[in-house]
């Protein structure tokens, strides 16, 4: 019972903050978008906790709400985006986008609520999910994990090279 109430609270928070990221009626400043993205990600970490993915909830808060959003805010403050707020929106483009996104949403909703993939599936009682995740990660997926560290190194080198002053 408490689980369901928490689910509805976190789901509402996630969707409301997600909507405020893309279309805030009060401000079109990217900083407010970034702040609402932080809230959205934090409430999604709450959903992860409800799904017993405790480790991923922690990683979500640390990596997304921490590192990635700090990077975003840093870049927003680096670029001076004052004059962006005065641009006019194009009505035709907005309408076309809304219609196409509505069509995608209708397809997804029909897929979920007619197909009902969760029919007959109920969440099992689990203990020690993080331990199981660690075992799978470091036994079955050890090679992808190591390749991932290489990817992070490559990304770091790439980011440093791209932000050099005289880009060749």
């Amino acid at each position: 019972m408490i689980h369901d109430i928490a689910f509805y609270i976190f789901a509402f928070l996630t969707l409301a903050c997600g909507a405020l990221v893309i279309a805030n009626p009060f401000s079109r400043n990217p900083v407010t978008s970034a702040m609402f993205l932080v809230l959205c990600i934090a409430s999604m970490a709450g959903l992860f906790v409800l799904l017993h993915a405790f480790f991923l909830a922690a990683v979500q808060v640390l990596v997304y709400a921490g590192a990635v959003m700090v990077l975003f805010l840093f870049v927003i403050m680096l670029l001076d985006l004052k004059e962006e707020e005065r641009r006019k929106l194009k009505v035709f483009g907005l309408a076309a986008g809304a219609i196409s996104v509505g069509a995608v949403a209708a397809i997804l909703m029909r897929l979920i609520w007619v197909g009902r993939p969760g029919n007959g599936l109920s969440a099992p009682i689990l203990e020690g999910e993080t331990r199981r995740l660690g075992h799978v990660l470091f036994e079955q997926y050890l090679l992808p994990f190591e390749i991932l560290s290489l990817l992070l190194l490559v990304a770091m080198v790439g980011a440093i090279l791209l932000s050099k002053k005289d880009l060749k």
Binding site: A11, G18, Y141
Partner: protein, 101 residues
């Protein structure tokens, strides 16, 4: 109503559509990038929900990988945006027309 798999997938699908709408409708490169993050997060939520309800831990491993790759992608993407801003003095997609014929 009891929160089952469908409810989590509905939240994920709606969040994905919100992100898609942001990518289509907004004109600021940084906000477009944030909408992309929103879409990635929606996919993560679907992965975790399916992993929970089918009792298969592989979905969570996949989300772990997605979060790491997304962090790397954000670092490189933001570096690109900064380099672009240096050249054009704008982070607005309508000003970036140098590849237009």
């Amino acid at each position: 109503m009891h929160a089952g798999l469908e409810h989590y997938l509905t939240v994920s699908a709606l969040l994905f559509c919100l992100g898609l709408f942001g990518v289509i409708s907004r004109r600021n490169l940084l906000v477009i990038y944030m909408s992309l993050e929103l879409m990635l997060n929606a996919a993560n939520l679907a992965f975790v929900a399916l992993s929970r309800f089918t009792n298969n831990i592989d979905g969570q491993v996949m989300v772990f990988f997605i979060i790491t790759v997304a962090a790397a992608e954000v670092a490189v993407g933001l570096a690109l945006i900064v380099a672009l801003y240096r050249k054009k003095q704008s982070a607005h997609v309508e000003d970036l027309t140098s590849m237009k014929l």
